[in-house]
Amino acid sequence: MIDKWRKYWRITRADEIARRYFINNSFDGVLTTIGLLMGMFLAGVANTQIIITTSLSTGIAIGLSGFWGAFLTEVAERKKKLMELEKSLMRNLKDTEIERASSFASKIVALVDGLSPLLSTIIVILPFFFISTIDAYYLAFTIAGLMLVGLGIFLGRVSKENQILLGLKMLAAGILAIGISYLLLN
């Protein structure tokens, strides 16, 4: 089974697009959660249940939006590619490894697209499950910052560019989100 999946992965080159979605949507998830938490922090929300529920439902919504959008887009794009290939091969590709690989890639890419923002949100709000609300806010912002740096480093590894610089660029977006919220809402 694993060998089959690896083969499908190679045929569709899904790793490239899944990686792109993973970084893009994890970034979305982290930034959205930062915005949400900053809003609640400035509004003085101290009820852990409200913070967790709001963040999680937002994470679920972003995840669902990512999954849905990516799945429909991937299916449409891959169908088009398959039809073009059928023309070139002068045959129907139904029930072939190529068709199965295409369907597999659409599902995996959509899952990555949907799960990455949701997981990011869960990781950022983890402190609210364990420590006092005010400490959890600070720790959640720190975790979010570290995640942004981590995503930048991952991006740097993929593109073989300066990992620290990319990490800092990602972090800058988080700081900007916090800064703008603070200036506008405080």
Binding site: I11, L85, S88, R91, D95, E97, I98
Partner: protein
Amino acid sequence: MTGIRRLVLDVLKPGDLSLVDMAADLGKLKNVQGVDIVVKDVDRRVEKVRITVEGDDLDYSTIKKRIEDDGASIQSVDRVSSGKEIIDKACL
């Protein structure tokens, strides 16, 4: 041994399907002892390859099915060898 011992096929395959996967899939078939795939032509989406399969008592329909299940199509059967001995210098 009797039956088909060597098949040379002209195949059109999707460009995204790797030769390694294709050769490995064919190599796993019953009675197949050797597989050789050579790229003859490369297009934007497809590749024309020549597949040589050697073994004992090869089953053409199983090989055809395997190739087609991978999404490729056999354009022509260019050479078939059978019998107790493979004639390498056969006149074409």
